[in-house]
Structure formats: C-alpha cells, structure tokens
C-alpha cells in the first residue's frame, strides 16, 4: 500500500474515533458503565485474538490488510465503549471528598503502566527486535482478558446512583456484580 494511502487511512481512523466518542454519549445514556466497560473490553479481546490469527498465516497483502483493518476496528471500538466509560467510572468511584486526590493518584498509576507498555509495544513491532507484528495481538488480548475478568469482578454499576447511595453501597461491601439489584432506602445511613 502506498505511503499516502496509509497516511489517509491513519487520518480516517482519527475521524472515526471522533465520531465514536460522540456515539458513546448516546450509549452511556442507555447502558450502564459496568456493562459498557466489561463487554467493550471483552469484544476488543476477541478482535485482538483475530488480529493475532490474521498475522499467523504467512505474509501476504491480504493478511496485512486484515491486520490493519482489525487494528482499526479495535481502536475505533475502544473509543466507542471502554475509553469514555473508563472516565465515567474514574469520576464516579471515589468519594466526593477524596475525588481530586484519587484521580491524581489514578493518573500516576496510568503513567506507571504506560511507560513500560510503550517500550514493550515498540519491541514487539520493531523488525530488528522481537518482530512479532500482528502476533503481538495475542499478547495484548491476554492483558485485555485479565483486565476484563478483573473489571467484571470488581467494578460496580454506578449508573442512576447518587453519591450518597454509592458511599453506602461501598460501606456495605456489596459485591460489584450485585450493585444493580441492591436497593438503598431514603432514610438509610449504612
């Protein structure tokens, strides 16, 4: 594929991501954050495995086009689901009092993981290093699967809850999966 076509497709990806973020506004109105986040990650996990498979059967134009399209799908879906939902979760989870501090620490955690991941990502793709190409999709699918399981276990559904209800549900140690079905009375304190 010619260089300028590749560049144009890069631009198109950014445009699609922009549109998907706008669609996510509609999605968060109707679906819970936990639902979007967990299932969004699971779906991306499947596409990452597909990317790995596309790269596993020799080198051909068809295979590289498939890899590129799957990469595009993953990044666009990420912008529709998990990415915006993650910021909603980040904003809603901490208690109101501690929110600025918690969000700051969270951002620090992001960079703590981000820096080694950039190194790893570059090593995986560089032809004079590990040269995994699309097969690195398997590795990212693995990390995505771990994230999916952990978020299914630990991230509660906070849609349609007031901050007071969220505080109470955390204090009651309600398991994350059961939040949606738990009732909190108007007069409850604990």
């Amino acid at each position: 594929m010619a260089d300028d076509t590749a560049f144009a497709l890069g631009l198109a990806t950014s445009g699609l991501q922009w549109i998907m973020v706008i669609f996510s506004w509609v999605l968060t109105t109707y679906l819970g954050r936990r639902t979007i986040y967990v299932y969004g990650q699971a779906i991306n996990c499947v596409f990452l495995v597909a990317l790995g498979i596309a790269a596993s059967f020799g080198i051909s134009t068809a295979s590289s086009n498939a890899q590129a399209s799957l990469g595009l799908i993953v990044s666009v879906l990420f912008c529709l689901g998990p990415a915006p939902a993650s910021y909603v979760i980040i904003a809603e989870t901490p208690s109101v009092r501690l929110r600025p501090l918690t969000t700051g620490i969270g951002r620090a955690a992001y960079y703590l993981v981000n820096i080694p991941c950039i190194f790893l990502g570059s090593y995986m793709l560089n032809t004079d290093k590990w040269d995994l190409g699309g097969k690195s999709g398997y590795i990212w699918a693995g990390t995505a699967a771990i994230c999916t399981i952990l978020s299914w276990l630990f991230i509660p559904e906070m849609k349609d809850r007031s901050f007071r209800e969220i505080d109470i549900l955390f204090r009651r140690h309600v398991p994350a999966r059961k939040w949606a079905k738990t009732e909190v009375g108007v007069q409850d304190d604990e």
Binding site: M1, D3, A6, G10, T13, Q41, N44, L48, L51, S60, T61, S64, N65, Q67, A68, G71, L72, V74, S75, F78, P82, S86, I89, I90, T93, P94, S95, R97, L98, L101, T103, I105, G106, R107, A109, Y110, L112, V113, C117, I118, L120, G121, L125, G134, S136, W140, T143, A144, I146, C147, L150, S151, F154, I155, S162, F163, R164, F170, V186, Q187
Partner: protein
C-alpha cells in the same frame, strides 16, 4: 451577540433544586425537579428533595481530605478501582490498535 440568547434562556430556566433545598424552599425545589427531569424519572420529586436534604446535612460535617485516607478501609477499594481503570487503558490493545497504519504500510 451570543450572551443575549443565553441571558433569555437563563431567565426562563428553572432554579437549581440543590440551591433551593439549601435555602429551605422545598416546595419550589420539587417544582424545579419536575421541570428539570424526564417525566418518567421524576414521578416522585418529594423523595428526591428529602434525598438532597440528607446529602446536604451529611456534607456539613466534612473535614479536609488528606492522602493517607486513600489507603484505608473502603476508600482503598475505591482508589484501587480508579488506579486499575486508568492503568488498563494501556492494556486493552490500544498500543497496537493505534499502529494500524504500521500494518497498512508494511511491505508484504
């Protein structure tokens, strides 16, 4: 130019129910909630007002937050969720997906 329509909109917009509850004007707060919410979401505005009253009461007793509190009790769980969600933005394949161009360009 732009401030004029905004000023008109602000004039006809309902007052903030939270502000009204803080001032003790509960009947007006109920009316504001009825105007602000979707019809099916606000079938019982009195409940929402009493919820706001209790929240405001509870907020009066807050003290200054500090960093050590993030690592205690239920706040530890909440901090870990935020850290995990932030960190996992790197781990769900984004780093390779954003390299889609790399595969387009790659000479087959």
């Amino acid at each position: 130019m732009f401030p004029t329509p905004i000023a008109i909109l602000l004039f006809i917009a309902p007052e903030s129910p939270w502000w009204l509850v803080r001032k003790g004007r509960l009947a007006q707060a109920e009316k504001a909630i009825r105007r602000l919410g979707r019809r099916n979401a606000v079938n019982n505005p009195a409940d929402q007002v009493s919820m706001m009253q209790r929240t405001i009461e509870l907020e009066k007793t807050t003290k200054k937050p500090n960093l050590t509190e993030l690592w205690k009790g239920t706040d530890l769980y909440r901090t870990l969720i935020v850290c995990g969600v932030y960190a996992s933005q790197n781990l769900t394949g984004n780093l390779i997906a954003n390299q889609a161009v790399f595969f387009f360009k790659r000479k087959s």
